[in-house]
Symmetry: C2
Subunit: 391 residues, 2 copies
């Protein structure tokens, strides 16, 4: 009996694992030379870390590019060999999910300037043989898109069924529509803005000052020195506050009422302090301080309101699904409404939904049910229009 | 003619200076021994920096205690000799103003644990002859109130006409009502809360980690060493973001659209960065890092919901005026509404107003017109009830 129950559990687990997830996945690498950046500078060698799930159909028109947020990476679904945790958007990507890998070919790559496999400040400069550090050229969101376009072309895809992402991922989606509108059927910017506001820039600047004010930063040349940047951990702690909401923090950290000691030892007295410290510390193991500086600057400069959203000289026909979340105060709903207005002014087809949530900005990772309904239906319709007719 | 115009300007200036302000003021000091703290620890010597404006009447019932915010001080009105800037609440305190110094005797003291004249971690421990640093005992808001009570008694006052303050000042107001309700006729808590929330604690903790993560902090023993704590400047920058609002930052920092350089130098590109850096740097000259740690911890532990707001065994008769501001997201209006509910549950007389403002938490320092109307009328009525009848 016991053994049978175990078998049954094993079976259940197998079903969960092998029907609802893309399963074991691997990060792949694509290399190319001489990337000309928006500012005219040239990166001699670029390596791009990317993952794909599902199968590209023979017309190569079922590909969806997923763009990741600030500290995200190419691993958005499935499990790396030996990992217990899946990719960052596992709830949305897989067989039968919103981004249905039975139908779509999903692509996700680490952004330029990042530190999870794609060329960034921690990569070695081929001209010097040492890490770029702060000699890495300045990059903007457009440059990330340029790299993704190279990857798409390398994969033999002429036009993406969709580009979708949240937060900085949403900015990349909008930048795609700005830079290569002819290469996409649809766009799903989530919890994003059309231009960084002074408040958003301010939060990023506090993080940067924390990093650069740390004596271990050493003007960015800290590679091969066994030092930790506490400032990066402080930046991450602040980040987490802005990703949550007043309400979600209250409900997550509702246990216990500590009393002050006779002498403050400045340990983590409250649950929320323990949580943030843990998040700050573990972040040091997976993220590069210079990448934090570069990517946050790219976010600060993001502005598709300027000079003019969507090029005038092209016949643009993109279907947009714009999503925001009620309790998101970092990228509040009114900023998604501004995106909708910009699109409407250009006579674009836009569906907009402000999803009810108490999770704050993190909602784009957590409100899978509502997002699945919206994204699933949107893509299904598109799929039948674009892909089925040619099959 | 020119000379006459100059005279006229001088006259105008004199009128402004000498009729609308308390003019030149001085900080005074009051010393006492053996303060028993809430945790049982004893501070052998306490010095209190305080200022007073107006005249105490013969019944000593026209005294108003002003309590200051986190990084404030005793200098809330008028000018110190040679200063160009007045005290921090000049708009509200002076002849003919809301806190009318023609009628009321205004008292304001620097809080215990602070660094503007009152005993705190940067004070010398009489037992060792060196600064307390992190050997300073843990303090809570109740301990600040205890020190203020000593000062009030020293000034010969048995019952205050009012205790009023914003932010951490508002917490002190509520703690007064909790600890010494028989010593006050009225209370004006502004932009405050009855208990610190996880989000508020989280922001404070980020500031503390920035300070303590700075290698110059040296576990708090940095006095007499010529070092700067960049972390304190980072904490202050973050503070400023939380004191403003998304809207107020947009309208303050609306000029210019910088372009990224070819290489990021991580200078302040945007106006908001320049502003915050300046605020952070100048803060180092006037505030002590350890005081930041101690006072922020006292704020974190603030909780008048526990065990029970207002003691059951006393016949409490305090008139409350509770004020909040629409765009304040650090101490949002709902938290003032919670204070009102707690008071109503204790059958207290409460007037509540949520003032329209786009200034965020800083509104309590900036929305002088609406505050003057509310506070002025509230105090006038009280004055005629309490003070006039005995005159």
């Amino acid at each position: 009996m016991h053994s049978s129950a175990q078998d049954s559990n094993y079976l259940k687990w197998s079903i969960v694992l092998f029907t609802k997830t893309v399963g074991i996945v691997q990060t792949k690498y694509f290399n190319f030379k001489n990337l000309v950046l928006s500012n005219g500078k040239i990166l001699a060698q670029v390596s791009v870390a990317y993952e794909t799930y599902g199968t590209l159909n023979k017309y190569k028109n079922n590909a969806i590019l997923i763009t990741h947020a600030f500290t995200g990476d190419a691993h958005c679904a499935g499990y790396h060999e030996g990992d217990e945790k899946p990719g960052w958007w596992e709830t949305m990507i897989g067989p039968g999910k919103a981004f249905d890998t039975n139908k779509y070919f999903i692509i996700c790559s680490n952004v330029l300037g990042g530190c999870a496999g794609t060329t960034g400040p921690s990569s070695k400069n081929p001209q010097t043989g040492t890490e770029y550090a702060t000699d890495f050229p300045a990059i903007v969101i457009s440059d990330m898109i340029k790299v993704q376009k190279k990857l798409i072309e390398f994969l033999g895809i002429k036009k993406l069924l969709c580009v979708a992402g949240g937060s900085m991922g949403g900015m990349q989606v909008l930048q795609w529509a700005m830079d290569y509108p002819e290469m996409m059927y649809s766009a799903i910017p989530i919890a994003a803005t059309s231009k960084s506001t002074p408040q958003q820039i301010a939060f990023n600047e506090v993080g940067r000052q924390a990093i650069m004010g740390d004596s271990n930063w050493q003007k960015g040349h800290y590679y091969n020195k066994d030092v930790k940047n506490n400032g990066l951990s402080v930046a991450r702690m602040l980040g987490h506050i802005t990703y949550m909401s007043d309400i979600s923090m209250k409900s997550k950290f509702s246990k216990g009422e500590p009393e002050p000691n006779e002498k403050f030892d400045f340990n983590a007295d409250f649950e929320v302090e323990k949580y943030l410290r843990h998040r700050g510390t573990t972040f040091l193991d997976r993220f590069d301080a210079n990448s934090y500086l570069y990517l946050s600057k790219a976010i600060d400069y993001f502005n598709v309101q300027k000079p003019n959203f969507l090029p005038e000289d092209k016949n643009i026909d993109i279907k947009f699904l714009v999503i925001s979340f009620e309790s998101d105060w970092l990228y509040p709903a009114y900023q998604s409404e501004e995106i909708v207005k910009l699109l409407k002014a250009k006579s674009q087809k836009v569906t907009y939904c402000n999803i009810h949530s108490t999770y704050g900005h993190d909602a784009f990772l957590l409100e899978a049910k509502d997002e699945t309904r919206l994204v699933g239906n949107f893509l299904n319709k598109l799929y039948s229009e674009v892909c089925s007719s040619e099959e």
